[in-house]
Symmetry: C2
């Protein structure tokens, strides 16, 4: 007998038939003798509809009321799922965030989980009952309902799995696992059987949408065994686990990409100590996240060009802030290029293998692709290139690292 | 400065424009310097949609999960209303049943309110904040969400007004008050300015749909001053108050009618002690409510006919039960007639005025209307007649008691 957390996203519970189907997947784990907690998102489309209503009433809304409205989506799914399970003869009850309770801070709209009470659910486990838990929501110290922001249900599932000391946290979705890259771009992409937390974290933060970065981070910190698998096809998924659990480690596990960034270049910045702080301090104060940064060597040693990337949605705000400090920074031109894509190769094997970067640069060079910015971490190399070359680059790299399926 | 509870039904908050309109009505009371609590139903159509989903998943459902699902309707309206009020510059926050808290018993789906916590709302009143409270819902001793059943939001409003010791509880609806009878049947029906609790209770329980019986009963017991008025027209409404507050009392205040009952006749029942218990005991055990009862005098003193009414929705169940006890009761025929209507004249003035019944029987007789069953209370006379004569009877009585508008 084990203890399993199963999480189903909005598409998986998108209508009543799908809710019945998911109930069958839960029953299967239950029938195996497992204690099961199910974490659910709102039925797909519902959250957007509720957000639309809120924005229509009040574009600059009180996020506490936003949370009260939006959290109803998960509440409905949970009640219906408990009923669907009961119809299959599986004892079940719904748990809202405040009932579990899922404690969070009071940052409404994007709250962080601070603790999970398990007493209630554990005592029901002892009675053989399945817990159907509303994802994406919690309760603030004030007693108000909070929501966790985008992808919050994944985070709920992982936090609950950690608190319940579950043997596994299964994230059901509309794909059957994590792939070496996006199969829509590379048809010969392969499903990865096992991937390390660190790699999955890089994959998620570099653009792979199958798991939320926050959830992977939490799973890594709490050592929760994650599995990504399909709601609709009965296939083995991808296990996200400790490095030690992976016997034959690939040098490169996957290629991720992100079209969500824009390149900003400040031309002719004074090349002296403190200038970077002068640029990135104000951006940071305005919550504009800066990702890749490169500072060109200047010809005369007095002026330099500073290039960096920001999220596309932050682009206009970033420009506004940089225009505001033009007088103090005394830079020349301010160029913004949104037509870029960031391509990353990821693998823990890089730590012990030389030549990974060389393979990357060579493969791109052979296709005539110009690299605009490079950034690296211990297990990842990212390059910024023109978006025109995105698919070409991804395919070339997928082949170069030997990831193509036979 | 006063303290007001305002309650708005589903039609009044049926879409975002109406929610904005209602926010204006709340602001008007707030701007007068009042402390205001607003009780809201779900947007019209939403509750039925949620109930439909529940029934589709599980026709014989766990009512605890039904409640979890259905209670979301009011949660959405409350969040949106708080935002709409804030947009008008009125400080406001939403309160779910469990946050107030509205304590109930654990009879899910039709729970009764057992207590209302007021500490939270009162302390926010002191800060000048409007409380937007979800109607129809509460929290059981188990910590699960409950709903109060049909018309529950009226009951929430009255219970909250009583607990807050409010000066008035305004029930906003799509009509502008309580009328002497249904204006769709009698165009010369008049709006009643003031009506006693007792009369209102009879009006509601005899078929006038403007207020829920439970809510009136609670208002009467707790001496909450009720007002029924229109959300859409700015007109004075009807006040429901103590008898002492009404200076010139009409003998008859109104004519109510109900098409919801069916007539059942047991022919040739043994006329001996215990036979009534033998009939109505089993019906009561099956929660079939019996309303009017008449026992005909038998010719030979050995057999009698027993006639009574049950709710139309209980008709088939009643027949089933009566067929089941045919052998022990030894009655002859069992006749069921759903083509009946109950017409009631109501007025506290009856207590001190003779001749009210005589006027009724005379008016009906003049129109050739046959009375099938009669029942009376201190302030009400009801007759059961063929439904074909419903409108004719109501119009004749409205005229006979001098209720027609000039």
């Amino acid at each position: 007998m084990g203890r399993i957390v199963q999480k189903f996203g909005g598409t998986s519970v998108g209508d009543l038939d799908r809710i019945r189907h998911v109930a069958g997947l839960v029953k299967r784990e239950y029938d195996r003798g497992n204690q099961v907690a199910v974490v659910l998102s709102a039925m797909s489309g519902i959250t957007n509809d509720l957000v639309g209503k809120v924005n229509s009433i009040s574009p600059l809304h009180d996020t506490r009321e936003y949370d009260a409205v939006v959290a109803t989506g998960e509440q409905v799914t949970c009640g219906l799922m408990a009923l669907a399970l009961q119809s299959l003869g599986v004892p079940a009850r719904s748990w809202m965030g405040w009932q579990v309770p899922i404690h969070t801070d009071d940052v409404h709209g994007k709250a962080r989980i601070t603790g999970v009470g398990t007493e209630g659910i554990l005592s029901r486990f002892d009675e053989g009952q399945v817990a159907v838990v509303a994802g994406f929501q919690g309760i603030a110290p004030s007693g108000r309902i909070t929501t966790l922001g985008r992808g919050g249900s994944d985070t709920t599932a992982v936090a609950l799995a950690a608190a319940l000391d579950a043997d596994r946290c299964d994230i059901y979705t509309d794909v059957d696992g994590v792939y070496t890259t996006d199969p829509r771009i590379v048809p010969r992409a392969q499903k990865i059987d096992r991937i390390t937390y660190e790699e999955m974290l890089e994959m998620a933060s570099q653009g792979a949408k199958v798991l939320q970065t926050r959830a992977v981070e939490l799973a890594m910190n709490q050592r929760v065994r994650l599995q990504v698998l399909s709601t609709f096809e009965d296939l083995p998924g991808t296990l996200v686990v400790d490095e030690e659990e992976i016997v034959e480690q690939q040098v490169v596990s996957g290629i991720a990409y992100s079209r969500d960034e824009a390149k900003v270049t400040l031309v002719g910045v004074d090349d002296q100590p403190g200038v970077a702080a002068g640029i990135f301090g104000p951006l940071s104060d305005a919550s504009v996240n800066v990702d890749m940064i490169v500072q060109n060597v200047s010809g005369d040693g007095r002026r330099t060009d500073m290039t960096f990337t920001v999220g596309k949605t932050d682009k206009d705000r970033a420009v506004q802030i940089l225009e505001g400090i033009r007088d103090t920074l005394e830079y020349g031109d301010l160029n913004v290029d949104p037509a870029v894509v960031k391509v990353s190769v990821i693998g823990v094997g890089m730590r012990s293998h030389a030549g990974v970067a060389k393979t990357m640069f060579q493969a791109l060079s052979e296709k005539g692709i110009n690299i605009q910015v490079i950034s690296t971490s211990e297990i990842k190399i990212s390059v910024l290139i023109s978006e025109d070359y995105a698919e070409l680059a991804i395919r070339a790299l997928h082949t170069a690292y030997g990831l193509d399926a036979e």
